[in-house]
């Protein structure tokens, strides 16, 4: 019982904390972000396993985490609100070459980020060539170029 509760608590705790931290924090990972993620993993490990290194305990914890994850994906596919709550919604930040400044600043996306994504994906040189730029749920920026090119 203890192991299931611990795993469930950690699952939802991390879900909430990472949702609050925002999608731009760990999505475009730098080396340091990666190190930070490893440290966070280290910090949760003793809470999950406690001082019981038995195989059964570890198996229960792993299965509980995976089960919650599957259950959550099922809930998400059934209820749209739940999906929005857990994953967020995509946001358009450039429309027809026009930056939407207020959205960009709150989403912590700079003009340089948009241009970088535009260069990387479509070899776009100027802002006017972008039809839409969207911050996706995953945290990446998607660029739709103007039809004329």
């Amino acid at each position: 019982m203890d192991s299931v509760l611990r795993a469930a608590f950690i699952y939802f705790f991390l879900l909430i904390v990472f949702r609050i931290a925002g999608r731009r924090t760990l999505s475009e990972m730098t080396t340091f972000d990666f190190v930070l993620l490893l440290i966070i993993g280290e910090a949760t490990e003793p809470v999950l396993l406690g001082d019981d290194p038995s195989v059964v305990y570890a198996a229960i914890v792993i299965i509980t985490l995976l089960f919650i994850n599957i259950a959550m994906s099922l809930i998400k596919s059934r209820w749209k609100t739940m999906e929005k709550l857990m994953d967020g919604v995509p946001t358009i930040i450039v429309e027809h070459g026009r930056l939407m400044q207020d959205r960009m600043s709150t989403a912590r996306v700079s003009r340089d980020d948009v241009m970088e994504a535009a260069r990387r994906m479509h070899g776009i040189e100027r802002l006017e060539q972008i039809k839409y730029a969207i911050v996706e749920v995953s945290g990446g920026i998607t660029i739709v170029p103007q039809a004329s090119g």
């Binding site: 609050i20 967020g88 709150t106």
Partner: protein, 193 residues
């Protein structure tokens, strides 16, 4: 057939519509890109995130004060009414953590080369005694409580007894530590899970 037609129409008029609608007056219908955007939701999320960051910062500062254990707020002292025993303890602790409880005994109480120290049973239920320095000469049961007979080298000198403890039970528990036959020092500890 009809809905598709209107969709095509909106596709074609996308540019014109967006220009006509000006800055931000709901050009959602006109967008050719099929993004499931929900700006009301998004703005609410951003607000909640900002509040969450504040809460996280607040939590870090609170943790620095020691409200979650080991800090200036947490480190406290309790004295018995007669002023013979002073206990240094942590007000807030965490389950499973080990800490040292320091008991200072005044010179008046160290006669006969022995200090009879009484520790309440409710406290001993909540903690596990890993060790006592100096080792008691004798430990006796006094009802639910335990009386430790702590040896002292020089009678009439102040003595310090250290208890190495490990916290077992979650929640608030009160403790009484004092010389047997006298009013003990009382304190309360809160143990986080």
């Amino acid at each position: 057939m009809k809905p598709r037609h209107s969709k095509l129409a909106s596709l074609a008029s996308d540019d014109a519509y967006a220009k006509a609608s000006g800055r931000n007056s709901k050009p959602k219908e006109a967008r050719s890109v099929q993004v499931d955007e929900d700006m009301v939701w998004q703005r609410r999320t951003w607000t909640i995130q900002r509040l969450g960051w504040l809460a996280m910062g607040g939590l870090v500062l609170t943790a620095l004060t020691g409200v979650f254990g080991y800090g200036p707020v947490s480190c406290q002292q309790a004295t018995d009414p007669a002023g013979l025993v002073r206990v240094e303890y942590e007000r807030f602790q965490r389950q499973g953590s080990e800490f040292t409880l320091r008991v200072d005994v005044a010179p008046q109480a160290t006669a006969d080369n022995v200090v009879p120290l009484r520790v309440s049973g409710s406290f001993l239920d909540a903690v596990e005694v890993k060790g006592i320095a100096p080792e008691p000469r004798e430990a006796r049961s006094l009802g639910a409580d335990i009386e430790y007979m702590i040896p002292v080298a020089q009678s009439g000198q102040a003595a310090t007894i250290r208890f190495a403890l490990k916290l077992r039970e979650v929640g608030s528990h009160s403790a009484e530590i004092g010389l047997s036959g006298r009013e003990p020092a009382r304190f309360t500890q809160f143990v986080y899970p």
